[in-house]
Symmetry: C2
């Protein structure tokens, strides 16, 4: 039982390097390539779970941030409430990050040592310490289907020496993450087995999956080495970390092109924190399966809509009496009902509904894009889809 | 055609002074007593129209504020977009206030003359002027099923002299409102008739209804006189204005008790801007049919839930690990899914979803209360319902 794989992963179709796969978790089936909306503090900002589950969006997996949830409401509270799914009322799959990137991005507020990262809470400034062991303990309480190893990120412009030092630390932390994770999983299984049989639901898949993270900044030799040595440690899936952190887009695509096709073919490949619709399509073309990004939610709150013809800034006065939906080609509930003029009015008036509607549409657009990507790969038409989608995206709504 | 009544109103059942009625509008049937969510700037803050239409809430009529919509996006924009319903994407009934109360409540920013009210915009400080004629013109462009006469409100503590002066002005403004309104309606009808026959939809009910407003502050003799003389002018319905503006609750109930039962029995009776669940029940007991209030939405955004056992302040630390729903007796989608602990976490984290969930629940609670009120009146059990509902409300969730 304890040796059963936590995830059942199968490649269904390939089209060039692009692949359509299926990921079975104990909380539902996830078809890939998949986009995961970001639920930082136990909520995907500005949208109800009912909407995420609706046919408009049908998000099969969302992200939770260990750093945020650990600080607030705190792990004791989430434990008392039965884990993250139960606490927030979401019964589909989740992935939690390790907190590594979040504390790294605190900048001057943190200090990284061999043991882990010392930092000050962004909420009350109190001193905190996060390590591979603590992250694994926290993530095992959160109980997402997929947990992430605790890593260090190097800045986009890191020199070869800096990037190597950071990569080596990440590898040592990866080993410690795996050991701590396995111990936590055994403890969890024992806790489950000690319950009455009728409450031992889903034992087969009770074990969480753990993904390792490939680092190495923009240095392709380090990226290759990081991949090789991370795979040696052995994880249930692999992620490319440390991209979209200040490097040029050309550099990001070079790293993805170099790394993604070399990642184990029989495990999920996850590109962390990326990106725009164009980025997603290009990364899929290199064999990536999973994505997360705050763009659809954060930019939505800031008045930006993603559409099939490029970005639309709802603050623009040209939309004052525009009766068109955000995206003519979109069939989401926002585009079926509301005009650009109305959403612009809401935004200008500081109404919460502006954020709600833009968030909904943007997530619908990202999730629909991935649905179309999956269909294209399965029908061996991904190359054509990629060309047409990108052309339309660049046809310039606001040019 | 032009003489057809804009509203078809029937009393279905009486139980003491309480009454259950039905109001047919060209945008659907409204059963009363009814609570109207407030949609100030073309949105009921924090909730999507789909939710307002869902069985959870089933709001049949919402409010729009002339003052806010007139200032932003402005009447030319709304006209260009085909009126308020079309602009915001709401196809059920609406009522617009006249702007009289809104500009009155600007306090030092406004100056009231015989002609109307001079004030400065709360948005950019620019000088504005609102009068009965302008309000009617604006409301006829907004196109709600029910428009309100332009009135002046007197403060709760107004002396007899002050209240008489204000009431007399309101009566003169009521006459001017009616005259201007009738002219606007004729112009609207001509505009409709000049269209091709296939676009002349719903001509019978195309005329909007206009309600008169009874003032007189806390002085019962003035309230009686205001009622009598407003009815003489002749409106499609009557409203009690100038309550919940600083007077004691005892005084408010005295006015309602004096005025409501004397209002024309064959027309809708609307109590403006009131109130708590207790207030609604007590006003229904005096024969009021219609209500609007910002409490469920505004207090929801401030962390307060209305429940069958009284108010709940979600900021309270006692809810940190409370797995109960906001209201055990509530069957709304929020209470079916989420715990107090989760909503408290969202509130403490400054997450928009806290406002969204509390707003939804509070509106569900107000609208469900009115549904139960209607059922009780129809089955001749209102007195019992009133006693039990009030007792439970006072049983003290947080005592």
């Amino acid at each position: 039982m304890t040796n059963a794989p936590p995830l059942d992963f199968q490649v269904l179709a390939r089209d060039g390097e692009a692949r359509a796969c299926v990921l079975n978790t104990r909380r539902g089936v996830i078809e890939t390539p998949v986009f995961m909306p970001v639920g930082t503090a136990g909520t995907v900002k500005g949208i109800r779970f009912e909407e995420l589950e609706s046919p408009d969006l049908d998000a099969r997996i969302i992200l939770g941030n260990t750093y945020h949830l650990w600080l607030r409401p705190g792990i004791e509270t989430i434990k008392a409430l039965g884990g993250l799914h139960k606490f927030i009322g979401w019964d589909r799959a989740m992935l939690t990050d390790s907190g590594g990137f979040q504390v790294w991005s605190l900048g001057k507020l943190r200090k990284i040592t061999e043991a882990g990262t010392e930092f000050r809470s962004h909420i009350d400034g109190s001193p905190c310490f996060l390590s591979p062991e603590i992250s694994m303990e926290v993530q095992s309480v959160l109980g997402a289907e997929i947990a992430m190893a605790f890593d260090e990120c190097a800045p986009g412009e890191a020199t070869h020496d800096e990037a190597r030092r950071s990569m080596e630390l990440t590898l040592r932390w990866a080993k410690r993450s795996k050991e701590a994770f396995d111990l936590a999983q055994v403890a969890n299984l024992r806790a489950v087995e000690s319950r009455a049989p009728e409450t031992q639901i889903d034992n087969l898949y009770y074990r969480q999956a753990l993904f390792g993270i490939i680092q190495g900044a923009s240095h392709l030799d380090l990226r290759r080495e990081s991949l090789e040595r991370t795979v040696e440690i052995g994880f249930d899936g692999y992620a490319i970390g440390g991209l979209s952190v200040g490097e040029e887009k050309r550099v990001m695509m070079e790293v993805i092109k170099e790394v993604a096709p070399q990642m184990p073919a029989d495990k999920p490949r996850y590109l962390m924190g990326v990106g725009t619709p164009e980025d997603l399509i290009e990364a899929v073309a290199r064999g990536v399966d999973m994505f997360d990004c705050v763009l659809p939610t954060r930019n939505g709150r800031n008045g930006q809509a993603f559409t099939s013809r490029g970005k639309l800034n709802i603050k623009n006065a040209r939309y004052t009496t525009d009766q068109m939906p955000l995206d003519e080609a979109c069939n989401c509930s926002v585009c079926r009902r509301h005009s650009r003029a109305y959403i612009r009015h809401l935004y200008q008036s500081g109404e919460m509904l502006a954020s709600i509607l833009l968030t909904h549409h943007n997530l619908a657009f990202f999730l629909d894009t991935m649905k179309r990507v999956r269909q294209a790969i399965r029908s061996d038409q991904f190359a054509q889809f990629r060309r047409e989608y990108t052309e339309q995206l660049n046809s310039g709504l606001e040019a």
